[in-house]
């Protein structure tokens, strides 16, 4: 399949930086909850940043690199069936695309419920908008905040297992591609080579995302610190 060892771009720089930063933030979300009780701001800011990144990724899904765009990887059941019959993808395959959407949705839900969460007595940690809603709403949000994390853990385990499976048994170096950005040239079903999105455009997306998240929380009457 590989044409003389030629390599093609699969993921542009901003997409990769986004991806691994989000990995770190999800890990740090767990760490800051488990070990950061004496510094509630640690966990709270982790949530702001995670939400900002997810909003960035949504914007990037419209104006980013070709493999990062939703239009290139959000597939219906027909494409998924075709994929099962043996197509190979440069970017997300149809199931990979669903996984990416699922992970993004769960991180978004996790960050959003966190804004309204607090410990039961509202004494130890309180999301920036918890003070604006009733105790029942805070209890509801906090409960969801725990459940969503459990669901996220399940999806992450599946996600990692599938990627390792592809690298080990399907000779599709997905993890490496997400690090280096490149894949061996091949007859891919979605596109032969990715067109990179520009860093400048990524910076604008990030700025808009940050403005939406921090501006939104402030506009809703939340205290960021």
């Amino acid at each position: 399949m590989s044409v003389g060892g030629a390599r093609v771009l699969a993921w542009d720089g901003p997409t990769r930086v986004f991806k691994w930063t989000l990995v770190l933030l999800v890990l740090d979300g767990w760490v800051s909850n488990r070990f950061g009780a004496s510094l509630p701001q640690w966990h709270i800011w982790n949530g702001y940043l995670a939400l900002t990144l997810v909003v960035f990724r949504v914007l990037w899904g419209f104006v980013g690199g070709s493999t990062a765009r939703f239009s290139s990887f959000v597939a219906g059941p027909r494409r998924a069936l075709a994929y099962l019959r043996g197509a190979k993808y440069l970017g997300h395959n149809p199931f990979g695309g669903w996984m990416a959407l699922g992970l993004l949705a769960l991180v978004a839900a996790q960050a959003l419920t966190g804004l309204f969460s607090a410990d039961e007595d509202r004494l130890i940690i309180e999301g920036p908008l918890a003070g604006k809603v009733s105790d029942a709403t805070v209890a509801f949000a906090s409960h969801r905040h725990h459940l969503i994390f459990a669901a996220l853990e399940v999806l992450i385990v599946v996600h990692i297992a599938v990627n390792l499976f592809y690298a080990a048994f399907r000779r599709d170096p997905l993890v490496k591609a997400m690090v280096t950005g490149e894949k061996p040239a091949a007859d891919y079903a979605d596109m032969r080579s990715a067109a990179a999105g520009s860093w400048g455009r990524a910076a604008v997306c990030l700025a808009i995302a940050a403005a939406l998240v921090f501006g939104g929380i402030t506009a809703a009457g939340g205290r960021l610190f």
Binding site: G36, A37, S38, L39, D119, E120, R122, E126, F140, S142
Partner: protein, 148 residues
């Protein structure tokens, strides 16, 4: 008339003593009452930490003294027969991991004692009181039943 008054007084006295004795022999009621005191003492300090209330070291020190007292009393209030009843939110793994559970109260006492001397103003409040609340959270995460 006098006789009736005496009877009522005696009956009331007996009832009161019985009530007090029940509370004393009811570890669930006792620990709930202690934790209620801990929560009440923490409330004003939580406001100071958020910056919605001015720093008041007397209230901070009162909260810390409440924690130290609670940390001393709480470990003995979880006898094997107090797992259920009295609407307790104590999780049953307390009894499986009693040494660690008790250790968290020991740490609560230590952190609170350290904070007593270390907290002098708003700036020293956050890091030092935060450490104490960190012990609260660690214990609640593992050993307190969530309401829903």
């Amino acid at each position: 008339m006098m006789k009736k008054f005496l009877t009522i007084s005696i009956l009331a006295g007996v009832a009161f003593a019985a009530g007090a004795a029940t509370a004393q022999n009811d570890p669930i009621a006792q620990r709930k009452s202690i934790m209620k005191g801990v929560g009440d003492a923490t409330k004003p300090v939580a406001g100071m930490l958020k910056g919605t209330e001015p720093f008041d070291n007397a209230l901070v020190q009162k909260a810390l003294a409440t924690y130290i007292d609670a940390a001393k009393k709480m470990p003995s209030l979880f006898p094997a027969d107090s797992k259920h009843g009295g609407e307790t939110t104590a999780r049953s793994n307390i009894w499986d991991e009693k040494p660690r559970f008790d250790g968290l109260f020991a740490r609560l006492g230590q952190e609170a004692a350290a904070a007593q001397g270390a907290i002098k103003d708003q700036d020293s409040l956050k890091p030092n009181f935060g450490k104490v609340l960190g012990v609260c959270k660690e214990c609640h995460d593992d050993y307190r039943e969530k309401k829903n």
